[in-house]
């Protein structure tokens, strides 16, 4: 099926003006599938890490949100073992006027501001609430161990 104009234009713009700290490149053989790298934001426990994600635009896109998942292991209360992300705009708060760029920026923002009150990984969230310093230490260790190129 031909790629909708929306996806073609959106990809062109994303390549022409990438968001800082974010790289998203479509596969040659499947223009709905993107390899994504998000750099850990400064002042966060993920600083210095490069996190790989996969992003897929389903058939219904942009009526339905893109599917995004972390491939790099990450210690974060809103991201589970399988790399799934708890983010409202990827679920009920999705709007067809949002874009790949806004989604990835929101994920980057989530790395800067973990929200242990809306957890996906319960054990991590618990750790974060009970001993934030220690949880941040673990997150740094994981970043060093798994997210270094």
């Amino acid at each position: 099926m031909a790629l909708p104009k929306r996806i073609i234009k959106e990809t062109e713009r994303l390549m022409a003006e990438p968001a800082p700290g974010i790289q998203a490149i479509p596969h040659d053989d499947n223009l709905r599938y993107f390899d994504v790298i998000i750099s850990g934001p400064a002042q966060s426990p993920f600083e210095g890490g490069d996190f790989k994600l996969e992003l897929f635009l389903p058939e219904e896109y942009p009526m339905a949100p893109p599917k995004v998942r972390f491939l790099t292991k990450i210690y974060h209360p809103n991201i589970d073992k399988l790399g799934r992300i708890c983010l409202d705009i990827l679920k009920d708060k999705w709007s067809p006027a949002l874009q790949i760029r806004t989604v990835l920026l929101s994920i980057q923002a989530l790395l800067s501001a973990p929200n242990p009150d809306d957890p996906l990984a319960n054990d991590v969230a618990q750790h974060w609430k009970e001993n934030e310093q220690d949880a941040i230490k673990t997150a740094r260790q994981w970043t060093a161990q798994y997210a270094h190129a």
Binding site: K5, E60, M63, A64, K93, S95, A97
Partner: protein, 593 residues
Amino acid sequence: MSAMDHDDDYMNEDDDGDDYTQDTQESWMDQDDDDDEDVEEDFGAGDGFEPVVADRDIKKGYQVEFEVHSIDDIVAFQTQEVAHVAGILGCRPEHAATLLRAFKWNKERLIERYMENPEDVANQAGVVMDADKQAVFSKSADGFECQICYTDDDDLDTVALHCGHRFHTECYAHYLQQKICEEGESRRIQCCQSKCTAIVDEATIEKLVPPDVLTRYRMLLIRTYVDDSVHLKWCPGPDCEYAIKCHVPQNQLQEVVPTVRCKCGFTSCFGCGLDDHQPCICILVKFWLKKCADDSETANWISANTKECLKCQTTIEKNGGCNHMTCKKCKYEFCWVCAGPWSDHGTAWYSCNRWEEKASVEARDSQARSRKALERYLHYYNRYANHIQSAKLSSVLLQKTAAKMEALQSTSTLSWIEVQFLRKACDVLLEARMTMKWTYAFAYFLKHDNMRDLFEDNQRDLEMAVENLNELLERPIPGVEGTGTLSTQNSSMSLGGGGVGIPTTASDPRGAPLSPLSKDISSASIPGTATPPPAAGAAVSVEEGIRVLRQQVLDKMGYLKTRREVLLTDTAQGLREHRWMLNVDLKTGVVNE
């Protein structure tokens, strides 16, 4: 006026205290009542048993007030409410509708809140009341690019809600379709723009989506309306589209069983949505069904009464008080208490006894308790299951009755209407069986006191009335061709049984075909079947026999109805008076034997 104000007055005829308003409401209620009559009044007048059916309009002590509403009723009611609110607030009907939905149709609260702070209320509901700031459909201007499809062609049809976020109409339609058909949204579909809280109102949706999507949207609105209202529930009947309105609140379900009867004919409990379970209250029904589903009772019985021989694994049942057990098969001797070989006991017996005294006494007591508990449960369960089994055979009874009714019409001068008494009797019988079934579940949870004795007296009287009517319905009609055959089948598949145990008919639930070919040897000897067609002179006595039978059926049916009324009324009254002492903790479901 809040909905809670009416929690106490569900028994009243008067529905004024409703959370809807009076005048508008009552006209459509009245209509309903009229329709309702058509459903049940299918027995013609002049057939001699009006007193038996004419009592249905008077609410009995065990009945609750309820109304049956069609989808059209609900739509009409909503339209009235919307028009009323639009009139008071001086706004467009679609905005009134959005506001009402945001307030879950609590009109009084909406108006009160709106009068206090119109801006806030409108904002929270996602509405702009200003008639000038409505959805604007226009052609795209220069430089416009739809942020959904990224099309920037000239002259695009576009639309923007009052918030000003403008999109291509085609994309908007697609978006609405996704929300309605894929996500099942209706009440709160927001503007396409991320984080914009403007609500797409009904009038705008009407202009944007195709008819099939619009139909689905309207259906979803009605669904949410019923789901939002604590007093409305969909009838659980198969493929039924009526909603039932009833004001019995959840917190009164320990004192009343809110049985409701839909226009589709389905009778259900408004409290829990299960099939009618008078006179047993919802929570006990839940406990009982769980207990029945739980096979552990049977396992308890086996452990309470039997042990395996340690040598040959033969099951041994203990039936005396002596602990010295001898296996009948291999003659192994052992101690029931510790299961060790008896030879080890001898002089050491006392040590076994003493060492284990407390534990063994407890064990024996708990075995005895367990056994007693099981016997008690089985007593009620067998009777409960018997009525279920009999009811399962209802289709057979109905079939046979239909055949009898035909035979009656062809043999006698009775008309179709005049033979309906048989059909009616079947219905009364089945209804009574359903009641009987739940009386056993209820009695299981009653503490043994004088009140339970009285309950069980009523139960016994009803049980006898059920079996008497059943027996009569299965009896051949003297001189009427075809009814004797039926009776033979009946005798091989007693529909009532003595009340104890599962009837042997379980193996043949559908029953034998009604064709005369199914006659077995014994049927030929039944008087009546083998008789030739009645001669002219005999016809008079056949008519007479039918007349007598009809009177008997009517009498027994009337008596059965009375017994059922008595039991239900008394049980319901007892619930209200907290007269029934339960042996079960209603929080945990644990039964204290």
